[in-house]
Amino acid sequence: MNIATAPQPFSANDYKSDYKPVWCPGCGDYSVLLAFTKAMAQLQRPPEEIAVISGIGCSSRIPAYTNCYGFHGVHGRALPVGTGLKVARPELTVIVAGGDGDGFSIGGNHFLHACRRNIDITYIVMDNRVYGMTKGQPSPTTEPDWDSALAPGGTGLRPFHPLVIALASGANFVARGFSGDPNGCADLIVQAVRHPGFSFVEILSPCVTFRPDQREWGKMVHAAPVNPTDDAARAARRIMTDDGFNTGVLYAGNRAPFRPQTAPAAGLDAIEAEFAL
């Protein structure tokens, strides 16, 4: 293996803006930002040909921390914005990023349909199982017994299982990473971007402020013991029976990505002629 290569035009820092994150020190999202910049450097995509799209939440602050084109929209709607952008400008690399509340609660419907639609974009969810920007409420992925002011004693609700839902909804690439391993996450992001169609990367990203218990995640994660499969049923079985801390590419499918309808080019005059008597 060649570990030293010729100089390349873009280093990880070229994808980082001079605007400093407001995340809490210790937050996993710093690592995801790092992983993103490393991944883009591996891909050597010019920063201006990448668009990072997000909604609302701590992790959704990520676009402005990059040197790419960014869009920080409203809560839960990052995937539609990314979808519109990718369809209108297919030559751009579109990365949609956000948190578990943004993606799986308020944006849950878009998550299902983005998986279904299988547009060639990458969706990175920094999952910390809590709403951080509003001071610690349970999210769809929160454990049922997690105590909080909004749900004293816990929600009692079964957590949402994003990877299985992504798979069932038609995502073409499903992976899980851990923020404490930024290099591993960078690799996952590289593979996700390269894989055609909708790629979903869930990154377990601890919230040190509202979920200090998640500092233990580093000891719990482990590389998936098997190679990725293109068999969705097998992948589903694995994901549904693992301990939730299995990292790596868990599914890489072969579905053809979304293609918008095309038609033979016609001038406006030809179209208008159809209104003539």
């Binding site: 084109y69 400008r89 008597l277």
Partner: protein, 576 residues
């Protein structure tokens, strides 16, 4: 013949029937034939709530010149059958001068219609159709109505052929049934005055929704996100096949939250974008409209208004989305609201909205309504407009690029993703000139001022309103009320009332100085609108200086505004 109206020579026909009777097809063919005969016309639809098999009515008004709304009465009501036809009684006003053509085999004319004292013309549509192999009563009806409208058999035949392009037995029997219908009318000895015909060549037939779609394409829209909703769906369906032919794309979204955000994403990418919806969908879109204001994303959202609130009356018209269009956004969020003032105007109004959205980097709402969107008219080919609104784009490698720079006009260059040296993050959070999130009072004020300034400085002079006539009184109206107001004013003028018409096409930003100038010398105005609460009147009171006595005529939908009722108000409120 509408003898009450000095301005418009017209004949109005209603065809009712249920359960696959084919009244819409017959109506469509009648309009087509009339257009081929050199007439103008309008056809709207009314129907029960059933997807299939429900009672339906095709409502036509044929005229010598372009008509944009229905008159006060119908000259002919033809029923293929009478099942639940009484539900249309309020939509199909008839009187002693009208003809009611009905099949005696279908029973007596319902009380709701017979009470008008119209002349009943029994025509055994079914029996006549039966005599023709494969013949259908709606084609007999077409022949009957064509004869009453003075349209020749050959022209009617061409309209049938245009629809039944496959030809064969179906065409043959339709033609024979139509001719039998014409013969039946001749036999019954009824006739109507003839309308003067013009030149069919060069004319179009188009629905308001199609015109809206075409206005978007002419304006440069090349991305549309679609979520179906009555009565806006036809805009999206038309664009779905038109856009790919001009290099554009339509994506069906999972809901309206997605559709508007997709359009925002595409527009952020540099492609002029649009979505179309109706009231319930617009309600879901308001958060994202605010995003487009804050992030300065050009965007057009068409709201084809229907009866509200909530699911309301999806198939019928009202102007009651004015408030949400004007005020639905939270925060101080200046944006553009444009309303077409006729079915034909759906095209230029939408094109203008695209132009404003693109040049001002702002969301523009377009507010047609169901009565415009789902009606078809015959008109002269719409002229091309000198509106090629291109957005101000940032140059590559702009030094110290600031997306939200505080320029004198308020408009700042918008970098297109892919451009080197101008990467930025568009943000719905309040931001600095660079686009960095900021909660500083200075940045907030500067950006609020900037976003307001863009709209204040724009030039709306050419299209902001239609102003017609002279006089010291005026009717101020908007949207689909404009056509019946115009007709009512024509009658009033014929009676000696000197009155102006001011129909606002630009509803927001408000143009109080322009309206004041348009109303200079006017002592009294009548505001006409189709809302229950008088939304337009309240808006005029709030945002404009009305330099005179103001009277109001507002009423809810879904019944169309009639020239006659407006005329009475003009006489009562303005002529005194």
């Amino acid at each position: 013949m509408n003898r009450d109206n000095a301005a418009i020579q017209s004949l109005s026909f209603a065809i009712v029937g249920s359960g696959g009777a084919g009244v819409m097809t017959a109506g469509q063919m009648l309009l087509d034939a009339a257009a081929r005969a050199g007439l103008c016309g309008l056809m709207s639809r009314s129907s029960g709530p059933q997807i299939r098999g429900g009672e339906a009515a095709a409502l036509l008004r044929l005229a010598s010149t372009q008509v944009e709304s229905h008159g006060d009465r119908f000259d002919v009501l033809l029923a293929v059958d009478w099942q639940n036809a009484h539900r249309f009684a309020s939509e199909i006003p008839i009187d002693a001068r009208s003809f009611v053509v009905g099949d005696p085999a279908e029973g007596a004319v319902p009380e709701a219609f017979s009470a008008a004292g119209a002349r009943i013309v029994p025509v055994p549509l079914k029996a006549i159709a039966k005599k023709v192999p494969g013949g259908r009563p709606n084609m007999v009806a077409l022949g009957a109505l064509g004869a009453l409208a003075g349209i020749g058999a050959e022209t009617l035949a061409r309209a049938i052929e245009a629809t039944l392009q496959k030809g064969g037995e179906a065409l043959k029997s339709s033609l024979a049934a139509m001719q039998a219908g014409m013969a039946a009318v001749a036999e019954a000895g009824v006739s109507l005055p003839r309308l003067a015909a013009g030149q069919a060549a060069g004319r179009w037939t188009i629905t308001g929704n199609e015109a809206t779609g075409l206005g978007a394409v002419r304006g440069g829209v090349r991305f549309v996100a679609a979520y179906p909703i009555t009565p806006a769906t036809e805009i999206l369906e038309w664009l779905s096949s038109a856009l790919p032919r001009v290099g554009g794309t339509l994506v069906q979204a999972e809901d309206e939250l997605a559709s508007i955000n997709m359009a925002i994403g595409a527009s952020y990418g540099g492609v002029p974008s649009l979505t179309a919806t109706s009231g319930p969908g617009l309600s879901l879109m308001t958060e994202a409209l605010g995003l487009a204001v804050a992030a300065e994303i050009p965007l057009v959202v068409v709201d084809v208004m229907r009866g509200g609130p909530s699911t309301g009356i999806p198939t019928k018209s009202e102007q009651a989305d004015l408030n949400i269009a004007l005020y639905g956004l939270h925060g101080d969020a200046p944006h553009v609201v444009v309303a077409p003032n006729s079915i034909a105007d759906c095209l230029p109004a939408t094109q203008w909205a695209v132009h404003l959205a693109e040049t001002l980097q702002v969301p523009a709402l377009v507010l047609p309504d169901q009565s415009m969107g789902q009606s078809r008219i015959v008109l002269e080919r719409p002229a091309s407009l000198p509106l090629a609104g291109a957005r101000l784009v940032a140059e590559p490698e702009t030094a110290n690029y600031r997306r939200y720079a505080l320029t004198p006009s308020g408009i700042s260059p918008m970098a297109r993703p892919g451009t080197r040296g101008t990467a930025y993050t568009a943000d719905g959070l309040e931001h600095s000139e660079r686009g960095i999130p900021s909660s500083q009072a200075g940045d907030h004020l500067a950006q609020l001022d900037k976003r307001a300034r863009k709209l204040d400085h724009a030039d709306y002079s050419r299209y902001w309103a239609e102003i017609e006539g002279e006089g010291d009184v005026a009717v101020v109206t908007w949207g689909s009320c404009t056509a019946p107001v115009r007709e009512a004013l024509a009658r009033a003028r014929a009676e000696g009332v000197k009155a102006r018409l001011v129909s606002l096409r630009l509803l927001a930003p408000a143009q109080p100085e322009r309206l004041a100038a348009a109303l200079a010398g006017v002592r009294r105005i009548l505001v006409v609108e189709q809302t229950h609460s008088g939304q337009f009147h309240r808006y005029l009171r709030a945002a404009f200086d009305l330099p005179c006595e103001t009277r109001v005529f507002h009423r809810a939908g879904p019944l169309p505004m009639r020239p006659g009722e407006i005329h009475s108000k003009i006489v009562k409120e303005l002529a005194a």
